[in-house]
């Protein structure tokens, strides 16, 4: 039996159990070319029946199989293999700010949390038969795993995930254009970053503007949210290299206000653009953002 690369570490058993109830979907149209404007019974030669799935609020009513309903008195939706050719893209921030970890648990950094969430999303996409691809940006890292489906794609993605290291700062706009063109219209984009760089925020907004469905997860360290430091401290910004000696007790209140305001502004801006946004703090389980995006309650369009 081939051991899965990195996956036992990235997805602990309890998270894996909870993932079974999750289902990736895009809020807008369910899929791409397979469905047309017209509803018809015979969908065409290319459509293959894959499975029946229980009806969930938010599914289009015309996809309900009425013959099955007549037989079982319960609503079921037909799913074909090409019915939801969803392409999920995972964009991971690999800049130096993602190296931050909590003082209490220095072995789990923000990048590690991003990798775990990405692995969960990949598992979901694999289970659904969807296509998925991986992008990582930061410093010298410009990683692109083209979209594909199947276990081999999953292994390829997990291998590349394990190789990502956090360094440097976000690349310029110019180098991001080819990436933007790779992501097709109506693809699902899960953006895992701390969004300290304005360029990352811009990329997310540009993608949303270009009618890609963008889901952003802002990953923060517990120390950044709470600022538990006290006394004299010397802080180093890993991306800019700036060192500052501060008295932690004196700056705490001001930092919490300013940082909180920055996070609130970010959430507001994203929501205004139609980007679904959640925050993830280190220490929370890896499936929590996906639960919030794709769980039962948030299935509503």
């Amino acid at each position: 039996m081939n051991p899965r690369v990195g996956s036992p570490d990235l997805i602990p058993p309890d998270v894996r159990a909870r993932l079974r109830g999750l289902h990736l979907f895009a809020r807008g149209n369910a899929g791409g070319d397979g469905l047309g404007q017209h509803a018809s019974r015979s969908r065409g030669a290319g459509l293959e029946f894959a499975q029946y799935r229980a009806y969930e609020p938010g599914d289009e009513p015309r996809r309900i199989d009425w013959k099955l309903y007549a037989r079982s008195d319960r609503y079921f939706v037909r799913e074909a293999e090409r019915d939801s050719p969803l392409t999920a893209w995972l964009i991971i921030d690999a800049t130096a700010s993602m190296r931050q970890a909590d003082i209490a648990r220095p072995d789990v950094s923000k990048l590690d949390a991003a990798k775990a969430i990405a692995a969960c999303a990949i598992e979901l996409a694999l289970r659904q038969g969807d296509r998925f691809g991986l992008i990582a940006l930061g410093g010298s890292t410009q990683l692109l795993v083209p979209a594909g489906a199947g276990p081999r794609q999953r292994d390829r993605c997990l291998l590349e995930l394990a190789r990502i290291n956090a360094a440097g700062s976000w690349p310029g706009i110019a180098s991001q254009r080819p990436l933007r063109e790779r992501i097709a219209r109506d693809a699902l984009v899960v953006f895992l970053s701390d969004f300290f760089d304005d360029a990352a925020v811009e990329l997310a907004e540009l993608l949303a503007l270009a009618r890609r469905e963008v889901l952003t997860v802002q990953i923060l360290a517990g120390d950044e949210r709470d600022f538990p430091f006290s006394g004299g401290q010397r802080f180093l910004d890993p991306e800019s290299g700036i060192e500052r000696r501060v008295d932690a007790n004196a700056v705490r209140q001001d930092f919490l206000e300013r940082f909180g305001a920055a996070r609130a502004n970010l959430a507001r801006d994203f929501t205004a653009r139609g980007i679904r946004h959640v925050e993830h703090v280190l220490g929370e389980p890896s499936d929590a953002p996906l639960q919030r995006f794709f769980g039962q309650r948030s299935a509503r369009a």
């Binding site: 209490a104 120390d223 910004d237 800019s240 500052r244 000696r245 004196a250 700056v251 300013r258």
Partner: protein, 390 residues
């Protein structure tokens, strides 16, 4: 019980207290860099800190206390017992009438003692009436605490003194009453045997010795017995003085001197001995040294006028007699009013009276306390360091 420091200069070590204060103020050295990605939201405008902030003030206080205790340990702390004010003492020399003594001293509440070895109270009889008064007074001066008052009742004619005037640290009330201390039995004048052992070559020198002895016998008839023999003749046991007029001292003679005899030896060179006779120009004519229990008077040359010019002086017999007799004993009797003790200030801080106060050293307790504080300081320091690292 009062706290005292035997070596207060050790408190100069308190200057080391500045060191932990400096270390706790210089925070640059202690800060370790912490990565913090959200640094840009920490505002630049931090209100300027005017007051001096000290890192970990409790640890600083602990370290200061540790150093202060070390400095006190260096200064040898002791717990001295403050001498309770003792009752004034009144001492009576044995031989003085008790009633007269008690009438002479009018202060009340005194302790009466005989001035005798052991200082018995007046109810007991003193062991003897011939007491070394000066020695006993000095002993009492050393033993009693400084606050005690002393009154001494002495007879008019005081014996038992020594050659030195009494200087005591206590102020003594010297009461003289009539009376006299009994005389010590006068030593009978024993005949002194003066043995001379001469080599045949030294026969001419015998004349001088014969003349000297004859001069002595004029003053004290029949007391000095001359005994002249050849070198080989043994020295009688009862001989008190010896004149050795031969080149080398025989072993029997050396043993005799060791046992306590006084000998005049010619041709004896001893450059480090004490000079006994000098001539007018200061040249040493005879040296004297203590050998065992006896004395040896060495002449560098022979007993003739060429090397010993004083041989022909009229007072040579007296000088020879004085040299052979040794230092005279000091007088022991005097009028009490003339030998009143002088008051001497305590010259040294560590006077005998003070050191005899029971001073319990605190070193052991202080060392234990310092060790305990050190353990506490180490645990606090490593705990805060672990907290800062965590």
């Amino acid at each position: 019980m009062s706290f005292a420091l035997l070596a207060p200069l050790g408190l100069a070590a308190l200057a080391a207290l500045a060191l932990p204060i400096l270390i706790h103020l210089i925070r640059r050295m202690e800060l370790r860099t912490t990565e913090f990605a959200a640094l840009r939201w920490i505002s630049d405008r931090v209100r300027p800190r005017r007051r001096i902030r000290v890192e970990r003030p409790w640890l600083l206080l602990l370290r200061l206390a540790l150093l202060a205790l070390l400095a006190v340990l260096l200064a040898s702390p002791v717990m001295t017992e403050v001498a309770l004010p003792t009752q004034p003492w009144a001492l009576v020399v044995p031989g003085v009438d008790r009633a007269a003594a008690q009438a002479a001293v009018t202060t009340s509440g005194v302790q009466w003692h005989w001035l005798a070895p052991g200082f018995p109270t007046l109810d007991n009889a003193p062991s003897s009436t011939a007491v070394p008064v000066a020695s006993l007074l000095r002993q009492l001066d050393a033993d009693l605490p400084a606050a005690a008052a002393l009154t001494v009742v002495v007879p008019d004619q005081l014996a038992g003194l020594d050659g030195e005037r009494m200087q005591l640290t206590h102020a003594i009330d010297w009461r003289v009453v009539d009376g006299r201390m009994p005389d010590s039995a006068a030593a009978p004048a024993t005949p002194i045997r003066f043995s001379v052992r001469y080599a045949p070559a030294a026969e001419p020198e015998l004349a001088y010795l014969r003349a000297a002895v004859a001069a002595w016998n004029v003053r004290e008839p029949g007391r000095y017995v001359l005994d002249m023999e050849a070198v080989s003749a043994p020295i009688a046991d009862d001989a008190r003085w010896l004149a050795w007029l031969a080149p080398d001292l025989s072993t029997q003679a050396s043993a005799w001197i060791d046992r306590g005899g006084v000998a005049l030896v010619v041709n004896h060179a001893a450059s480090d001995a004490e000079a006994l006779w000098r001539d007018a120009s200061g040249r040493v004519l005879a040296r004297q040294q203590v050998v065992g229990r006896g004395r040896l008077i060495g002449l560098p040359g022979a007993l003739d006028p060429a090397t010993l010019p004083i041989l022909l002086d009229a007072d040579f017999p007296e000088r020879l007699q004085a040299a052979l007799q040794g230092a005279p004993t000091p007088p022991t009797r005097a009028h009490a009013g003339d030998v009143r003790p002088l008051h001497a200030a305590a010259t040294s801080k560590a006077s005998p009276a003070r050191s005899r106060d029971s001073a319990r050293p605190l070193d052991l307790w202080l060392a234990l306390l310092i060790a305990l504080l050190f353990l506490v300081e180490r645990s606090v320091a490593t705990r805060t360091r672990a907290q800062a690292a965590a």
